[in-house]
Each structure stands twice: as structure tokens, then as C-alpha cells.
């Protein structure tokens, strides 16, 4: 099987890699590029743990082929903080204890970032439906929703 040569932009950096035709973006990120922040919880787009932003659209990286990212922009959890300065969502997740085991956290943060980019002032219901593609089994979502609400306030003020 022939490899596909891909040149793409990940978190602002140009990245080149070779992948198999059937390899998902998630596999490429984790196994070829060492970016293990996106997690595989299901591999079928049902849990959202592998969420990344692809050309300004929130996607499950397990449902994107690595080959498809040629010439596109990918944002992952590894690119969310600026140097040692956390994104307000990251900070609020910590303050609210919006994570217990933390496996779903990267996916939630990416999804919440996309949500607030499109809707800076969401209602609780909009947050809940906006994050419905991300499963969390530990928290009951309560503290996650509160963290996003709080981050939205901070980001509006910024």
C-alpha cells in the first residue's frame, strides 16, 4: 500500500508526514506526530474525545483521514495555551474542577473553544447542546457547564 505524503498546518506550524490511505487524522496525530492530547474513546465519532478544529470546523479526528488534511489547518489541544499562559477555558476547567479523570478534557476544551468562538454568550441550554458530542462519565457535566459559563464571562471581558 502506497503512503500518502501530506503537508498541513498543525497549531500554526507546517507539518509534513507520510500516512497510509486509511489512516485517520487521530492516528496520524497520536502515532506519527506524538500529539497524544486527542484521545480515542470510541473511534466512531460518538464520544468526542478526539475533537480537533479543522479549518474552523469542530470535527472528530477519528472521522477524518490523515490524507484529507493536505493544505488545511488543524488545531489541537496542544496548541490551546499560549506558551505558559493557559486559555481562559483551561484555567476555568481547573478552577471549577471540571475534570475528574481528565480523559475527555482535551475534547471538551476544543469543543468549548469552538462553541464560544461561534456563540460568545451561550445560554446553559446552548452549552449543553453544543457539548452533547463530548461524553464525560465522571462529572455529570455540572462543573464542565459552569466552567464554560465562567470562561465565557472572562473572554467577553477580555
Amino acid at each position: 500500500m502506497a503512503g500518502v505524503a501530506v503537508s498541513t498546518t498543525i497549531n500554526g506550524d507546517t507539518v509534513e508526514f507520510l500516512c497510509q490511505a486509511d489512516e485517520t487524522l487521530l492516528d496520524v496525530l497520536r502515532d506519527r506526530l506524538g500529539l497524544t492530547g486527542a484521545k480515542e474513546g470510541c473511534g466512531t465519532g460518538d464520544c468526542g474525545a478526539c475533537s480537533v478544529i479543522l479549518d474552523d470546523r469542530l470535527v472528530c479526528s477519528c472521522l477524518v483521514l490523515g490524507a484529507e488534511t493536505e493544505g488545511r489547518r488543524v488545531e489541537t489541544i496542544e496548541g490551546m495555551a499560549h506558551g505558559d499562559r493557559l486559555h481562559p477555558l483551561q484555567q476555568k476547567f481547573l478552577e471549577h474542577a471540571a475534570l475528574q479523570c481528565g480523559i475527555c478534557t482535551p475534547g471538551f476544551l476544543i469543543a468549548a473553544k469552538d462553541l464560544l468562538a461561534k456563540n460568545p454568550d451561550p445560554t446553559e441550554e446552548e452549552i449543553r447542546f453544543g457539548l452533547a458530542g463530548n461524553l464525560c462519565r465522571c462529572t455529570g457535566y455540572d462543573k464542565i457547564v459552569r466552567a464554560v459559563q465562567d470562561a465565557a464571562i472572562v473572554m467577553k471581558g477580555a
Binding site: G45, D46, R57, L58, L63, L65, A111, A132
Partner: protein, 286 residues
């Protein structure tokens, strides 16, 4: 396994028609990649159609709308004109999967995956949508309900690709609606669904109607008898009860992990009633 990204329909059709072994068309990939992951399909050739000119656009034409095969459902929701004309189709498309899936999945893919429970299909069938099919033998336009022929099966021949879905220009006093039943609030496959599309006369009487039911038979059902119940009515209580009864009777559901025969029959009627009520209001009926 090969991955290609043709730039023209001709190239795509040629590559598909000329391929030996199994091939798959990739638009959003939200069904294809799941099937690959599960080992249900191992295509020798993957044809990514997203780079083909025009396939990622919604065009408003003199006749209505042409929705390119690679347009993600999220984009449908961002088109004010489409939402205004066909709110039921858009709400159905917006129900497929999560936000993450919305950014990828397409109504054409939803149609070609040929699941009886596909969310956008009953709404498209009710809307009388048509599919533009391009293949080695040329271009043809067919009603969407003739695409799926059974669970996972379509009428498309080798080398054929759906290029776009066409929706008619809206007649005045028209409205459509789609409802599905799922156990959770999100992320589920429809257990039962109903799409209703109505046009009223100037007195608020239903002039024409189409009622489609999903997940109650091997393919989406277009229920003529249900349309007849609605035509000539103002959707009074008795009409709605009859509609529910007719829809329940038209179902040929199965018992499976998502629901029972009795449940599907009963709820198909309930959803048809509710969807008709919404469509009627959207058409301006009171």
C-alpha cells in the same frame, strides 16, 4: 488501498468506473470511516469528492436550491435562504450526529448510506427533493426516495456519483417540518421519524401534502394515504387523529435494539401529528 482527490466529476466518475475491487466515495466520511473502523468495508479505492469544483456549494437557482454533495450539514444551517424556504429539511440535516459530525456529514452521504433511520431522508422525501446523478452514462435526475433500495443498498450503478440534491422553489403558504424520536436528547439514531411538507390555499386549507416516515420499514416510507388525510383539512383534531392512525397503520417496523414494533407504530403516529402541526404553522395556517 488508494486515496485520490479528483478535481472534476469526469475524473471521479472515470476513476470509480475503472477501478477493480471495492471503492468508496468520501465526502464527510462520518459513515464511511465508521464502517472502515468496524472492518465492515475495506475499500481498495477511496475517492474524496470534496475538491471537485462546485460540490461544496449551495446554489440558489431559478428553480430552487442545488445543494452540492460535499456540503456539510452545518453549512446548511448557516444558509438563511435555505432555512427560510425548507426549515424542515434543515432541521433534519442538523439532527445528524454531534457538532463534530455536523462539520463533516452531508445529506447526500446520509441518503447514500441508505439507512432506514437516516434523519435527513424523510424530510427530503417529504420535500420532494431530487438527486442529480452523474455516471459513465451521463447525468440524470431522480427522486431521492428512489436512491435507497434497502438497508445499506442503493440504486446507483458502478461509477455513479450523486452530484447535488435539488429542492424546489417554495410555493407561497408552504411549510415543512421533521421530527424524530430518540431516547436521549442528542447523539442517537432515530427510533422513528416523520417529515411533513404542506402547502395551503389562501383559506388555510391544505392544498398539497407529503408525509414521510423513517425507521419504520426497510426504506423511508412516503405515505400517500396520510397525505390524503391532510389534503382538504385545516388540521383539526379529528384530522390529526386520523393522520396518526393512518401513519401507525402504514408502518412495517421491526423489533430491534432501538425500539419495538408497538412503540414505533404508536410513536410514528404521534410524530406525524406533531410534525404536521409545525409544518402547518410554518405555512401560515392557524
Amino acid at each position: 488501498m488508494r486515496y485520490i482527490r479528483p478535481l472534476s466529476m469526469e475524473d471521479a466518475v472515470g476513476q470509480l468506473a475503472g477501478s477493480s475491487g471495492t471503492s468508496a466515495i468520501l465526502a464527510g466520511g462520518s459513515d464511511l470511516l465508521v464502517r472502515m473502523k468496524g472492518g465492515f468495508i475495506e475499500p481498495d479505492l477511496i475517492v474524496d469528492i470534496k475538491a471537485i469544483d462546485g460540490l461544496s456549494e449551495i446554489r440558489e437557482t431559478g428553480d430552487g436550491f442545488s445543494i452540492g454533495a460535499a456540503v456539510p450539514c452545518a453549512v446548511l444551517g448557516e444558509s438563511a435562504a435555505l432555512k427560510k424556504a425548507w426549515p424542515g429539511v434543515v432541521e433534519a440535516a442538523k439532527l445528524i450526529g454531534s457538532k463534530q459530525v455536523q462539520g463533516r456529514c452531508t445529506i447526500t452521504g446520509n441518503l447514500c448510506n441508505a439507512s432506514p433511520a437516516a434523519d435527513s431522508v424523510p424530510a427530503l422525501v417529504a420535500a420532494g427533493a431530487r438527486a442529480v446523478v452523474v455516471g459513465p452514462a451521463g447525468r440524470r435526475t431522480i427522486p431521492v426516495q428512489s436512491v435507497p433500495t434497502g438497508p445499506g443498498k442503493t440504486s446507483l450503478a458502478k461509477g455513479e456519483i450523486i452530484e447535488a440534491i435539488l429542492l424546489d422553489k417554495r410555493a407561497p403558504r408552504s411549510g415543512d417540518a421533521y421530527l424524530r424520536f430518540i431516547p436521549r436528547t442528542e447523539m442517537d439514531i432515530a427510533v422513528v421519524s416523520a417529515g411533513v411538507n404542506l402547502t395551503l390555499d389562501e383559506h388555510g386549507v391544505v392544498k398539497s401534502a407529503r408525509v414521510a416516515l423513517g425507521a419504520v420499514a426497510a426504506t423511508v416510507l412516503l405515505v400517500e394515504e396520510a397525505a390524503q388525510v391532510l389534503i382538504g383539512s385545516r388540521l383539526d383534531e379529528a384530522t390529526l387523529e386520523r393522520l396518526a392512525k393512518v401513519c401507525a397503520g402504514a408502518c412495517r417496523p421491526i423489533d430491534d435494539k432501538r425500539g419495538t414494533i408497538e412503540f414505533r407504530r404508536k410513536v410514528a403516529g404521534v410524530l406525524a401529528k406533531r410534525a404536521a402541526t409545525t409544518a402547518y404553522a410554518r405555512a401560515g395556517g392557524k
